[in-house]
């Protein structure tokens, strides 16, 4: 098992059905989990509040929506804000963008995964969850191609498996796991 120092960030992408999965993972994390968790979920463009508050209800670590140019800190989860793409800069800060939607999505999971791949390379841990389109599959492959670690939620445990199956078509991940297994795996990184 890799130590927590190996990874610079855990990056999670999900769409339809993923709120409950993300919420479950965050609720099972060790409260001292040190690695930044960066979450990109498809969400309504015009609803800016509510999601981060809902995740905070059960999360063991603080969940927040980052501002542009905000420094990425430990023991925090960051949720991509509504109607902005979320990128990771080379100085370990967030960069938000209003560039055109990708895969009909803003935030687009592909962008967040891919920028994490280029910034953190083998120190990125990417996780793709349930969802109803293919967004995220190519970005997660970028993490895989840069020798980062990749986890795909077991399609049998997904509400909608389009996203996870799209990723499985592109490459062989390091792990295919249920949400419970993902939470256990992350906690072992913190030991």
């Amino acid at each position: 098992m890799n130590s927590s120092k190996r990874y610079k960030a855990v990056i999670i992408g999900g769409s339809a059905g993923s709120f409950s999965v993300v919420s479950k993972i965050l609720s099972k994390l060790d409260p001292a989990f040190p690695i930044p968790v960066i979450i990109c979920m498809h969400r309504l463009k015009h609803v800016r509040s509510g999601l981060v508050e809902a995740l905070n209800l059960r999360s063991k670590i603080k969940v927040m929506e980052p501002y542009d140019k905000e420094r990425i800190g430990e023991n925090r989860a960051y949720l991509a804000p509504s109607n902005y793409h979320l990128f990771i800069e080379f100085d370990n800060t967030f960069h938000l963008s209003t560039e055109a939607a990708l895969n009909h999505s803003r935030p687009a999971i592909d962008y967040t995964f891919s920028s994490a791949a280029y910034t953190y390379r083998d120190k990125a841990l990417g996780i793709i969850l349930t969802g109803a389109n293919k967004d995220g599959a190519k970005g997660l492959k970028d993490i895989h191609d840069k020798n980062g670690t990749t986890i795909i939620q077991d399609p049998a445990s997904c509400d909608i498996d389009t996203m996870t199956k799209a990723a499985l078509k592109l490459f062989e991940p390091d792990h295919v796991m249920t949400p419970e297994m993902i939470a256990d795996y992350l906690n072992q990184l913190a030991v």
Binding site: R48, N83, L96
Partner: protein, 299 residues
């Protein structure tokens, strides 16, 4: 510089780089190319977050069918290409009434505007007309559109021409329409535009008080004192130092009591924040200290 500008980029078809992340540019190359672009044009292309420059250069190389940076250098000698670059490089913000909560708040402010003087509304870096037309519709529905002179500034003459003509290359007019409803607009959104040659053309009478200024706002004096400055989601594409420098210039051009709006996920640089009062933290609307422009019953 020459070493980089003569180098052939191992570039990049739309099939092998579909995410447009600029994978084949190194950071040093990105900075050098952007620096050369800035020197050639006077537009600070080199003062953006590195990942954005990387991604955007990748986009420009593909869109303009440029295979190496030497070619780009040659093309930049042409005024026609410099205009094309200024037109294509910046990020379009085509959403009309993006963030309906902001527009509702702005309406509440404009309603209690306590002056009969014409107020300059300055859009210092306006890529496309989405926010300009949104403001004009809001003012028209309040019956105060003649209270404002709208000043639109950008380095691309082509972008400004589109705004003067009321053209908006909207991909999704439905989003503008639904945002308008959420803004609690008083009219029928579809009455404000017609469709022509695959673009949307806004009602010409809305545009009568619009003036344009071609050039980058940091390289020119401000076009008069402004009562309102609209700079929403523009600092996203500037580095931290340049964001502060830009905001200082915009704040200096703002009349006492005037307001400036930034994006809801942007932070006002500290150096400028001391000169301003935050009047709506959620929508990031700030008011300059002083009372030359009066809102409602204050003073």
């Amino acid at each position: 510089m020459a070493r980089y500008l003569s180098k052939t980029m191992p570039f990049i078809s739309s099939t092998d780089n579909t995410l447009n992340m600029g994978a084949d540019f190194g950071i040093k190359e990105v900075k050098e190319i952007a620096s050369f672009m800035a020197e050639s044009t006077g537009v600070p292309y080199d003062r953006a977050p590195v990942s954005f420059m990387k991604r955007r250069l990748s986009y420009i190389f593909r869109k303009h069918n440029i295979r190496n940076s030497g070619t780009l250098k040659e093309m930049l000698a042409s005024e026609e290409y410099r205009e094309k670059l200024a037109y294509d490089y910046p990020v379009e913000v085509t959403d009309m009434f993006r963030d309906p909560g902001f527009w509702r708040y702005l309406r509440s402010l404009l309603k209690c505007l306590g002056t009969n003087d014409t107020i300059n509304v300055w859009f210092p870096d306006v890529v496309s007309g989405g926010e300009v037309f949104s403001f004009l519709i809001l003012a028209k529905e309040l019956g105060i559109n003649d209270s404002f002179k709208i000043i639109c500034q950008h380095p691309s003459a082509g972008r400004l021409e589109e705004i003067r003509k009321g053209i908006l290359p909207l991909k999704d007019i439905q989003l503008g329409s639904s945002n308008y409803v959420r803004t609690a607009g008083k009219g029928v959104f579809e009455d404000y535009y017609s469709t022509r040659d695959n673009v949307f053309v806004f009602e010409p009478s809305l545009l009568k008080n619009v003036q344009t200024v071609c050039g980058h706002f940091l390289s020119m004096p401000p076009p008069g004192n402004a009562g309102i400055v609209m700079f929403r989601n523009k600092m996203l594409y500037l580095d931290k130092e340049f964001s502060a420098k830009s905001m200082e210039k915009l704040c200096d051009a703002l009349l006492p009591g005037g307001i400036i709006a930034i994006g809801p996920r942007e932070r006002m640089p500290d150096v400028v924040a001391v000169k301003l009062e935050c009047v709506d933290d959620k929508e990031k609307v700030f008011r300059k200290h002083g009372f030359e422009i009066v809102w409602g019953n204050e003073q």
